[in-house]
C-alpha cells in the first residue's frame, strides 16, 4: 500500500503519470489539498499560486498526451525557497524590503526545472535574506517543524524542509550558505544536499554571501534528491563562478556505486555541545557502515574551531555589499517619510530590514572598513584556505567524512534569542561552505520525544554521486525517512 499522492516518491509518481493512472493535474490538486489541510499549522509558504501551478500541470499533461514528456520530473511539483527568482511570482527573501517585489525573470535553476517539466510551486518561507538557522527571522512569521509544531524547522531554508516533510510539495529547492539546507533537513527528517560550490548556478538566487551560497535540493529520499540535483546542476554562462564540469547521472550512481567507502570521523565534530541522542544516532550510523565493509578512521580538521569566526567575517562582509542594492530607489520598500536620497536609504533600510539582517550588515561594513580589512577580512580568507586544506588533507586517507548535521535536534521557537547561540547551530555545517565542498544531510534517527536527527556526509569536490550513493546505501537499510509527521 503506497502513501497518499503527496507523500509518494518521484519514481512512483512518474511511473503513475507515465501509465496515465494519474494526471499531473490530479497530483497538483492532491498537493494543493494537502497544503490547504496543513499549511495553517506549518506555514511553510510565503505565498502560492494555485492557478499558475495548475496551468503548469495542465501543460505537463498536454505534453505527455502528445508523447513529449520530458523525464522523471515532468509534472512533479517542486517548491522554491523565496530567494530563487521565478518570472511573475513574488520574490521576497522573507523580507519586508521585498514584500511587494515580483520577479520579471527566471533563475537558471528555475529555467532548468521548467525544461525538465517540473511544476514550480509556491514561495517557501525562510529566514530573512537566508540569515538565520530557525526560519524565525522571516518577516512573515515563522515556519513550524512538522514533527514538533512548537519547534523550529531549522533554517534558513526552513520552509523548503518543512513543506517536503509535511507533504506540501514532493521536492523543493533551498539555498545553503552555512548549513541552510542541511540543518533544516536534519530537523525535518528529509534529505538535503548542498552541492560543491560552482556545481549549481547562482543566477537568480538573491545573494547572501556570494562565495558561500549554493542552491540545492530537498527530498524525502536520496533518489528524489538525486533526480532534482541532476536537473539543476551544470555550467551556466550567466554565473562566472559556475564550474565547467560534466554532470554525472546521479540517479544511476545510486545503483552503480556501492563502496565500500573509507569514512573519516573528525574528532573536532564530536566534542562539547553535541546532544547525546544525536551523538548516539550518528555513531549507530557509523557502525552500520562498518557492518557494510566500510573502514572508519579518525581524522582531524584542526582549524574547525575557527570556522564560525571566519564565516561571520566573510559572510557578513559579502552580505553588507550584496544587500546594498536594496535601497528603495529602483524597487522594494521605500519609506514614506523620506525627503531626499540619503533619507530614502536610511529610512527604507531601517524599516525594510529585520534585526538579524541589520546586525550582519553592520558587522560586515565594519570588517571591510579601512584599517580593519587586513585584520579581519584578509586574515579570514587566509584561515578559510587552511580550513579547506584540512579537508583536502583528510581526503588523502578517506573518501568521505561523516559528522552530525547539527549539534541538537530541532529546538523550541524562541529558545535561542541570543544570536551567538543561534550561530552555533551551524557549527558542523559551516566548514563545508568555507571549503566549497558538497555535503548531504540524511535522516538517521529520532530523539526520544520524536524530533528528527540527521547525519552529514561530506564529500570531495564534485563528489556528489559518491555521496548520494553512500547516503542511499544507508537509507535502504533504515526506515527513518518513511516516518511521517502527525499533522
Amino acid at each position: 500500500m503506497s502513501d497518499a499522492l503527496h507523500y509518494q516518491s518521484i519514481a512512483e509518481l512518474s511511473a503513475a503519470l507515465q501509465a496515465r493512472r494519474i494526471s499531473a493535474v490530479d497530483l497538483m490538486q492532491a498537493v494543493i489539498a494537502r497544503t490547504r489541510a496543513v499549511e495553517d499549522r506549518v506555514h511553510a509558504f510565503n505565498s502560492y499560486d494555485f492557478e499558475d501551478a495548475l496551468a503548469q500541470a495542465r501543460a505537463s499533461d498536454e505534453r505527455r498526451a502528445r508523447g513529449e514528456a520530458r523525464g522523471p520530473l515532468d509534472g512533479i511539483p517542486i517548491g522554491l525557497k523565496d530567494v530563487i527568482a521565478v518570472t511573475g511570482q513574488p520574490l521576497t527573501a522573507s523580507s519586508r524590503m521585498l514584500q511587494t517585489f515580483v520577479s520579471p525573470y527566471d533563475a537558471t535553476v528555475t529555467q532548468r526545472l521548467r525544461e525538465a517539466g517540473a511544476i514550480c510551486w509556491g514561495r517557501l518561507n525562510m529566514d530573512e535574506f537566508a540569515m538565520g538557522s530557525s526560519t524565525e527571522n522571516s518577516a512573515f512569521g515563522p515556519t513550524a517543524n512538522p514533527y514538533a509544531l512548537d519547534c523550529v524547522p531549522g533554517g534558513s531554508s526552513g520552509g523548503s524542509a518543512a513543506a517536503v516533510a509535511a507533504g506540501e510539495t514532493i521536492v523543493s529547492l533551498g539555498s545553503d550558505t552555512g548549513g541552510s539546507i542541511r540543518q533544516p533537513a536534519s530537523f525535518c527528517n528529509v534529505v538535503g544536499l548542498k552541492p560543491t560550490y560552482g556545481l549549481v548556478s547562482r543566477y537568480g538566487l538573491i545573494a547572501f554571501a556570494s562565495s558561500l551560497d549554493q542552491i540545492g535540493p530537498f527530498g524525502r529520499s536520496v533518489e528524489d534528491t538525486a533526480i532534482v540535483l541532476g536537473a539543476i546542476a551544470g555550467h551556466d554562462p550567466r554565473d562566472s563562478t559556475s564550474w565547467r564540469a560534466d554532470v554525472p547521472d546521479y540517479r544511476a550512481a545510486l545503483q552503480s556505486r556501492r563502496g565500500p567507502w573509507r569514512i573519516g570521523i573528525p574528532r573536532e565534530y564530536f566534542g562539547e555541545g553535541l546532544d547525546p541522542e544525536v551523538a548516539a544516532s550518528v555513531q549507530a550510523a557509523v557502525r552500520f557502515y562498518e557492518s557494510q565493509g566500510c573502514t572508519v578512521k579518525d581524522v582531524s580538521l584542526p582549524h574547525t574551531e575557527y570556522g564560525i569566526g571566519v564565516y561571520y567575517i566573510i559572510a557578513t562582509a559579502e552580505c553588507s555589499s550584496n544587500l546594498a542594492r536594496f535601497d528603495g530607489i529602483r524597487y522594494g520598500h521605500r519609506s514614506k517619510d523620506a525627503k531626499d536620497a540619503v533619507e530614502i536609504y536610511a529610512e527604507s533600510r531601517a524599516e525594510g530590514f529585520g534585526p538579524e539582517v541589520k546586525r550582519r550588515i553592520i558587522l560586515g561594513t565594519y570588517v571591510l572598513s579601512s584599517g580593519y580589512y587586513d585584520a579581519y577580512y584578509l586574515r579570514a580568507q587566509k584561515v578559510r584556505t587552511l580550513i579547506r586544506q584540512d579537508f583536502l588533507n583528510a581526503y588523502r586517507d578517506v573518501d568521505v567524512i561523516l559528522t552530525p548535521t547539527a549539534p541538537t535536534p530541532a529546538f523550541r521557537r524562541g529558545a535561542k534569542a541570543d544570536p551567538l547561540a543561534m550561530y552555533l547551530c551551524d557549527i558542523y555545517t559551516i566548514g563545508v561552505n568555507l571549503a566549497g565542498l558538497p555535503a548531504v544531510s540524511v535522516p538517521c534517527g529520532f530523539s526520544a520525544d520524536g524530533r528528527p536527527i540527521g547525519m552529514q556526509l561530506i564529500g570531495q569536490p564534485f563528489g556528489e554521486a559518491e555521496l548520494l550513493a553512500m547516503a542511499h546505501t544507508y537509507e535502504r537499510a533504515h526506515a527513518w525517512g518513511q516516518r511521517r509527521p502527525t499533522l
Partner: protein
Amino acid sequence: MNYEAVIGLEVHIQIKTKSKMFTRVATGYGQEPNTLTDPVVLALPGVLPVMNKAALDAIIRAGLMLGCEIAPVCKWDRKNYFYPDSPKNYQISQYDQPICLGGSVEIELPAPARNIQGEHKRIPLTRIHLEEDVGKLNHTASDSLVDYNRAGTPLMEVVSEPAMQSADEAFAYLTALRTAMVYAGISDCDMEKGQLRCDANISVRPVGETKLGTKVELKNLNSISFVRDGIAHEIKRQLAVIAAGGTIRQETRDYDGQTGTSQSLRSKEMAHDYRYFPDPDLMPVKVDAAWKARLQAECPELPFDKQRRFYERYQIPYTITSVLVPDRALSDFFEETVALAGVDKAQAVGNWIVNDLLRELGTVKIGLEASRVRPAHIAELVRLIEAGTLLMNAAKEAFVDMFATGEMPAAVVERKGLKAETNVAELEQWCRDAIAGNAKSAADFRAGKESALNAFKGPVMKAAKGKANPRLVDETLRRLLAGG
C-alpha cells in the same frame, strides 16, 4: 618665493563595445531613458555579472600601446558607496591590481606658432584600470530622475603621475591620450557624450621643493578647453591663497566652465571609505602571453610614431603631418593614395589632401567617410599633373568638380576640356619665339645660370593660354638652347 604647479589627471574613457561591461544589453547614447537596461543593469535581486571580454581586450590594447605592464591576472573588486546613479550601490572596479601598470603618454607642447613643431615629452602613467560606468541623474524642480542607460558601460580610468606643470601640458596630455584611444578604436572620446571625462589633481609648491603640496581635486572638466581653463584657474586660485598667507585645504572642487569659477564640493573629512574587497561573483581572468601577443598585433602605430615615419619616409613637412596624423582615417587615406601614386608623389598627395580635400569637406560639412573623392582620384590627379596632361590651375578646377561628382579626374578633364596643350610643333615655335625675344637670358643660361630658363616660360605659357605642359616646355627650351 616662486611656486610651481603639479598636476595629475584621472581620465575616464568609455570603451566602445557592443554590450555592457557585465551583461549583454547594448551600450548607447541618446536613447529613451532606461531602455538600455536589463535585470543585471538594474541590479535586480539575484542577478550576477559576467565579464565582457571585448572590454578587457580593449583596455589591454590601450595598455600595450602606452607601454604599460599588463597584469598576469585581471582581478575585480567592489567599490562600495551609496548613490542613486549606482544601481548596486557598489561599482565593480579594480583596486589593488589594475590590469595596466606604468606606461606613459607622449605629448607635444604648444610651439610659438602653429606651423612649428612643439617640444615632445612623456607623461608617466600610474595605472589604467577597468570598471563600469554609472547612470545619470536628472534633477527637476520637484524631483530627481535616474537614467540607467549609461550604467554598466565599460569604462577605463587612466591615472597619470603628478607629472604635469601647466594647464597647457594637461591639455596636450589629454589631446594625445584622446588621439591614441580614437586611433585604436578603443573609444570615440566624445566629451559632449561623456565618453571622455577628466578630473584633475592640482597642487602647488615652492620651486625646488620635492614634496607635493596639498592637492585639490577638480571635477566636472566637461570639455577639453574647460580642462585647460579649469586647471589654469585652480593654479591661480591656489597661488592667490598662498600669497594672502593662507594654506591650501585638501578638498574636491567643482569647476563651472560657463562662469570660469569653482566651488568646494567636499573636504577631506567627508572622504568616502569605499570598503574595497574582491568581487566574489567574478573569477580572476588569466591574461597569458599568447593573448597579449594577439592584442599587440592589433595595436595601431601610435600617432607620434606615425608622424615621425611620415617625415622620414615621405619627407612631408610638419604643417602637413600635423594635420594628417591626428586623424587616423585621414592618414590612412593619405597612405592609400601614396601607395597608388608612388612614394615620390607623397608631398603632392599630402598637399592635395590637407589643402583641397579638407577645404571641400569643410565647405559641405561632411566627413572623410562620405567623400566621393577616394585615394584613386587623387592618385590619378597627381599622375595627370606629372604627365603634363593637367596644369595646376586646371587640376584645381578638376578637383572641385570631381569632389562634387565623384567622377575620375581623367573623365573630368575630358568633359571639361582641361587637357594641357601638347601640339609639339606649335609649342616649339612658341619656345623659339621666346628665346629669340630674350637674347640676354639665353646667354645667361648657356653660361650656366640655371634660373635664366624661367624667363622664357612666361611668354610660352602666355602664348599657350596657360595650357602648355610645363615639363614639355622645360624640355623643349633646354633642347633648343643647347642645340642652338
